[in-house]
């Protein structure tokens, strides 16, 4: 692989945002994701290659390390920040259509529920896997999911809930989405739900952790 892309992959994997960033200690003083992305663009590397050869594999490694309990969330967030710094440099290429993401992923915590820690982790990992993420926030009713899918045809939708009294709202939202947009794939997740519940309410996929979502999305995209 190109040396700049290798360094960029390492910077994102270990959360080196820019040259000034003191984290991680072993990369102190070296170029971060920001500078390396600029260099890669200036060198003439295709933006799509920057995304697919450096950023996505880096976040894939991060997701796997997290799944294997080898890193904590803060390290994962640092990697996400490094990726964000890189993506900012790539933004014009997304806007022009020169870079294509794997698809659009719409996520929100269902109405009546405000818990968003799990949802945010999933959003971050999915974005890192090369998807465009539309985060609807918390306390999201059916209408907002449907509106978001209408604005992003073909998007995958994910519903999150933490409470036993709000998970029941997932059923209603899934029904509403399926009634209006039957081909839309709906994922669910959150502490009180499981695969049985997923099947019972007619959702398409349940994942117990962010990496599970990423892996299933990869299957959908391939």
């Amino acid at each position: 692989m190109n040396e700049i892309l290798e360094k960029l992959l390492e910077a994102v994997e270990f959360g080196k945002v820019d040259q000034k960033s003191p984290y991680p200690p072993q990369l102190r003083g070296l170029d971060g994701a920001l500078e390396l992305t600029v260099k890669a663009i200036e060198t003439g590397i295709e933006p799509q290659q920057i995304l697919e050869s450096a950023l996505v594999p880096a976040m894939d490694r991060v997701g796997k390390k997290f799944s294997e309990n080898k890193i904590f969330v803060p390290q994962m967030l640092m990697s996400a920040r490094a990726m964000g710094a890189s993506m900012l440099q790539l933004k014009p290429f997304f806007t022009s259509g020169e870079i294509k993401t794997k698809g659009t992923f719409i996520i929100g915590t269902v109405k009546g529920d405000l818990h968003d820690i799990g949802k945010n982790l999933v959003a971050m990992m999915v974005e890192g896997a090369g998807w465009t993420v539309v985060d609807l926030g918390v306390d999201v009713p059916s209408a907002r999911y449907i509106e978001a899918v209408n604005n992003n045809p073909g998007a995958v939708v994910a519903l999150s809930a933490l409470l036993t009294t709000t998970m029941v709202n997932m059923g209603e939202i899934v029904s509403d989405i399926k009634a209006n947009l039957p081909s839309t794939k709906v994922f669910i997740g959150g502490a009180p739900v499981n695969n049985d519940f997923c099947q019972k309410i007619g959702a398409d996929f349940y994942a117990p952790d962010p990496q599970g979502v990423v892996e299933h999305l990869s299957k959908l995209a391939s």
Partner: protein, 486 residues
């Protein structure tokens, strides 16, 4: 720019910088000494300032009582399901008290922690309190079984982002539920208030200890002062008991995240310590305990203020996992289960089954107390020793460490300085346990200790200096300064 005069910090004020004048009256912690100085005096069932209740419980007066907490099974709460909702709570209270009676219980606390809909529409919560109180009264009159209801409205204000802690439309229904609910029979008043949570949630995920101090010791403290003035005033007006608050949304979130291996356990232990300076504000405003079950900061509150506390440990596995199953009971006055759904188990309904578990635990502790000081301490030592070196969150809860850390938590003047001092003491204790070989932690965990120490040591004593340090690095779109009186 800033000058300090005597114990009460007085600041020169920048022209036009209003918040410096407003911080003046709130930045000094009231407690300057411990009520319990000796670890041996930090004992289950015994609190220096016991709380007597309407039906005759003396919480902290020499015995441990069970505190049962429960919730609905998976269901919606709406007009059509309300009769079932009420029936669930009737069934829970009836089943729990019948079982307590069969087990010769000396007394019980039932906690009603309301769900969103029950607080948004206070009439629902009030009706549930009425139903439960009728059953409590029936068992009291007919069988002499004393029970009380702890009423814990959920903090609706977190439904607005950024939170409007002081001007929220949700304050009115919350306070209505407090007032009418206590009149309906909710004698012990609690809340898991959420001031500062909009800042702490991200800080938890980033292991950002300085922002945690800001969220709890600056924002949390101010919100607690605002809220608990109101709760204490209402309680006094109606002859009820302002019990206490829990930093559940902060420190228990940290504990659960650590249990999921999302964040380091050493960090979660420090968040617990920092939460003390926030939760103690309820007592400063006049709350008398028993502090709430999920507030694992309770032992520190008991040591500093002498109030009785409720705790939960292995019996709370129905709601969340924890590394402190036994040690949590070392100095509890009420022993709780956090929350269990009203679902059918092989033995019966789950709340009834948990009532039995809590009663047996309480019975054992009470038998030790009856047997005398030595047996009580032996039981306590076993509860402590079985957990203490398995996790830093357990380590900080041993009576010796609670007293040692509590001394640091009152040493300074400001909440910020005390939070920092307490957390640094906890790091010392963790490092000593590691150095002695008694506790083992992975490198993933220990690598955070020097970083956390460095961050904590950079926090100044002076609250205003700390606020000035933090404001440029905080995302100020996430919280409204004025809603905290800043």
């Amino acid at each position: 720019m800033l000058c300090k005069q005597g114990k009460l910090e007085i600041y020169a004020v920048h022209p036009g910088n209003e918040f410096l004048t407003k911080t003046l009256k709130y930045n000094t912690m009231k407690y300057k000494s411990l009520i319990i100085n000796n670890p041996e005096d930090l004992m289950f069932g015994i609190a220096p300032k016991p709380v007597k209740t309407r039906r005759g419980l003396e919480i902290g007066g020499g015995q441990v009582y069970a505190e049962l907490n429960f919730t609905l099974p998976i269901m919606s709460i709406n007009d059509s399901t309300l009769p079932q909702v009420y029936e669930h709570y009737r069934e829970i209270a009836e089943g729990a008290l019948e079982r307590a009676l069969d087990l010769n219980s000396k007394g019980v606390v039932l906690e009603l922690e309301t769900l969103l809909e029950m607080t948004k529409t206070p009439q629902i919560g009030i009706e549930i309190v009425k139903i439960m109180n009728e059953i409590c009264e029936k068992y009291y009159q007919k069988h002499g079984l004393a029970s009380e209801i702890r009423l814990t409205p959920n903090d609706l204000r977190e439904f607005e982002r950024p939170a409007k802690q002081r001007t929220s439309q949700y304050l009115e229904p919350m306070m209505e539920l407090f007032e009418k609910g206590m009149i309906a029979g909710g004698d012990l008043l609690s809340i898991e208030s959420t001031g500062g949570k909009e800042v702490s949630d991200d800080a938890l995920m980033n292991c950002d200890i300085k922002t945690i101090v800001f969220a709890l010791a600056v924002l949390g403290v101010r919100d607690m002062q605002f809220l608990w003035k109101k709760i204490v005033s209402l309680a006094n007006q109606h002859g009820k008991i302002a019990a206490g608050d829990s930093a559940c949304g902060f420190a228990n979130t940290a504990m659960v995240l650590a249990e999921k291996k999302y964040i380091p356990r050493v960090f979660a232990a420090l968040v617990r310590i920092i939460s003390v300076v926030r939760s103690i504000v309820a007592m400063e405003e006049g709350a008398v305990g028993p502090d709430k079950d999920c507030g694992y900061e309770g032992p520190f509150l008991k040591a500093i203020t002498g109030i009785p506390i409720s705790m939960e440990g292995k019996t709370a596995a129905c709601a969340h996992l924890s590394p402190i199953g036994n040690i949590a009971s070392a100095c509890c006055d009420l022993w709780s289960n956090e929350s269990v759904q009203n679902i059918k188990l092989l033995s019966g309904m789950a709340p009834t089954a948990y009532m039995e578990q809590l009663e047996y635990d309480a019975r054992l502790m009470n038998q030790a107390l009856i047997a005398g000081t030595v047996p009580s301490h032996i039981l306590q030592q076993l509860l402590v020793a079985s957990d203490v070196y398995t996790d830093p969150q357990a380590l900080i809860l041993s009576p010796e460490n609670v007293i040692r850390i509590s001394k640091e938590l009152i040493k300074g003047d400001s909440y910020v300085a005390n939070a920092r001092n307490g957390a640094l003491a906890a790091i010392d204790i963790i490092e000593e346990a590691l150095a002695s070989g008694k506790m083992k932690l992975s490198e993933m965990e220990t690598s955070y200790l020097p970083l956390l120490r460095e961050d904590l040591e950079s926090i100044p004593d002076n609250e205003s200096e700390f606020i000035e340090m933090m404001l440029p690095v905080l995302d100020q779109s996430k919280f409204i300064m004025a809603e905290y009186g800043l």
